[in-house]
Symmetry: none
DNA sequence: AATGAATGAGCCTTCATTCAT
DNA sequence: GATGAATGAAGGCTCATTCAT
């Protein structure tokens, strides 16, 4: 809009910027409060106080407590999505070992410092089905992409897995990576992250390169 | 106990027996209520009703809601402990593949039908540090026993892991088994339990038999 | 249940009696509070206090504020129904003049001392459709009965009104009686109730005995 | 006003004019909002929005919510006053039958389309005593004027009512007209307005022409 | 020991009103 | 004068816990 006097234009821009900033302040405060107290004991008043706002203001930005949680979860999921996208941006590495490392590193990057929040968001709180669906979609996309890759470029020569097998293997890769990272961050069996990382990659690659199944099993 | 003179039987026993039975009834009721409603919405009144008691009576058996939760969790942990003990009673299998299968089966047995309760108990509720400590001790014992076994009978010839390495590997075995079982029960990527079981065992054995690490790693 | 020991039987009876008494205490308190403050400002805490109970107890008897209002309204409607039924019990008087007097007296009896409450209940508060329906049914029944009577025993010789006319006339009788009684109790244009009563009856009988309509009208 | 030198035109007028226009816009908005949502749920923010103003601006025109209500009520009363005045402007009709028709028509005109607002203003909201007084004064004036007319020109030959009687009769005329109109608009026992009008006029005229009272009454 | 009515702190949320820009 | 973000008192309601019977 050239020609419009500068003084007349902004009008809403600074407000919206500030507004967005306040929203984020509330979300950050909520994250901290939920992490410390859990969902049930993370009261809206506490969140408002933590955010340095009155309770009334908080409710001008979010219609209710669950909306805060939902937004927080969405933000979290988005960060995950972005992390995955970014990891893939520069092209997938050529070997499965490198790919396993990438998986581990991405998981570590996503969850570092956020494991407790993740837990509150996705396990302890009332998650609306819409969010659940969104999460599942994200995970499914990842699993599906990995399964496709497993089929196109089988890590074990000769024994390309069938469709269902590839998907299950992909699910195991994703689930193991994420669950173990979570658990590591909660448990800290070693204070040494790189030791954990190395071991996780070892697990993933061993699993990927496992010799073909001979069919014998039983309790 | 026929033949025992009435007057000699301990006065308190029947009461205590009934008392213990009532406690258990309350705990069972609490388990059902927590599973259905979660911790926060699992009110003491609901528990009392489910147990077929008045709320007043419930409070004669437990000083407060958290005590119920604590007891429930302890019972759950005990069941885990017993399951592990029982698994070992008849002697450990001779091969690591069989041991991996035992691990997987025990995890499935412990959590089947109880995953939601487990979740409520250990993720959604305010867990007192004492309980956390207890859980950790149990897990540590398991991890330590496995580590010991790894050292005494290394699955990979020639390359016996050092002490710390053995413990980390043991932690991975336990954590992967439990986490993946959990996740499977929540996600159900396959409706077929035995497919999951087979794959989990494959993962564990592949990890156990992995070729010695060559030291090269990095992002 | 003859033979049942007296001491074992009552058990619940006294409780229920007390329970019902408490309900009534709450309703009475609510009536007073609503009359004094109106619906919006008649807070549940105020009602509880007026009833000499804690807020928690109040909510053990009613699930929410509207339920209190609804119950109060129903009680009021029931009283009206009973008043009407009772008025008719001893048989309807034989002349329309006496019937008009009965109508007026019943209205006065129903509303005396309750006009403000009536207003709060039926005009100022959120009335659930169910209640509205109930009220309307009661009024319709009354109107319909009167219309039937007007047809069977026309107050004006020769000019029996048609069906629709009878119903409209009946509606006017009922509405005028009730509305004017209400208004009188709110306005008190005369402190003398019997003067009002006389005039109301005069209005009703004049209306009943009005000469047949000649069809000419217009603004 | 062409020709008036700019410098001479009163500075304040345009502002005051605009100010008055804004006030009216707010009142109109309030009327709509109150009609749709009732008093309690008719929030000031909603009113401001409906008026196309910011909440801050609204508070520059009215000190608080009740002031809006008061002003609205006053405007409503004024309209009533004006309607009555206008009805009388062209001279009172010569017969009581025509006067009854005028009464009915005026009531219908005043309330048509406004019954809900009337209700909110005068029954559902906290009316300050000052307003109540004003309303009562207006009604009293009307009643008094009618009473005077009844005395000066008694509808029933020979039996001119005494002072108190005339006032009571006048009150009945006004109250019946208004109450029944209200009730009709809320109840709609006939969808046909003209049928209602005819019947109302019949009631009023029958009442006016009632044969003199013979003094006998009783319960 | 059992019962369940009673308690009240505290939660989420609304909305009239103020005030910095 | 206008704006709308900020405020916080207050309301409806829940639920762990107590206590008279």
């Amino acid at each position: 809009m050239p020609g419009t006097p500068k003084a007349l234009r902004p009008r809403k821009t600074p407000r919206q910027k500030r507004s967005a900033a306040t929203r984020d302040r509330i979300l950050d405060a909520a994250a901290r409060v939920f992490v410390e107290h859990g969902y049930a004991a993370g009261t809206t008043n506490r969140i408002a106080e933590e955010a340095g706002l009155s309770i009334g203001s908080l409710y001008q930005y979010f219609p209710n407590k669950d909306a805060i949680l939902l937004q927080l979860a969405r933000r979290h999921v988005d960060q995950g999505r972005r992390a995955v996208a970014e990891a893939l941006r520069s092209g997938l590495p050529g070997t499965w070992d490198e790919r396993a490392a990438l998986l581990a590193d991405t998981a570590l990057r996503i969850h570092d410092g956020d494991a407790r929040l993740h837990r509150v968001l996705f396990e302890e709180s009332p998650r609306p089905p819409a969010l659940l669906e969104e999460i599942r979609r994200l995970q499914d996309a990842l699993v599906e992409a990995l399964a496709e890759l497993l089929r196109a470029d089988p890590p074990v020569r000769g024994a390309g897995p069938d469709a269902a097998g590839a998907r299950l293997t992909a699910w195991f890769l994703v689930a193991a990576t994420e669950s173990l990272t979570h658990r590591y961050l909660a448990d800290r069996p070693t204070p040494d992250v790189s030791a954990f990382r190395r071991e996780l990659i070892a697990l993933l690659t061993a699993y990927l390169h496992r010799p073909p199944h001979d069919g014998a099993d039983g309790p």
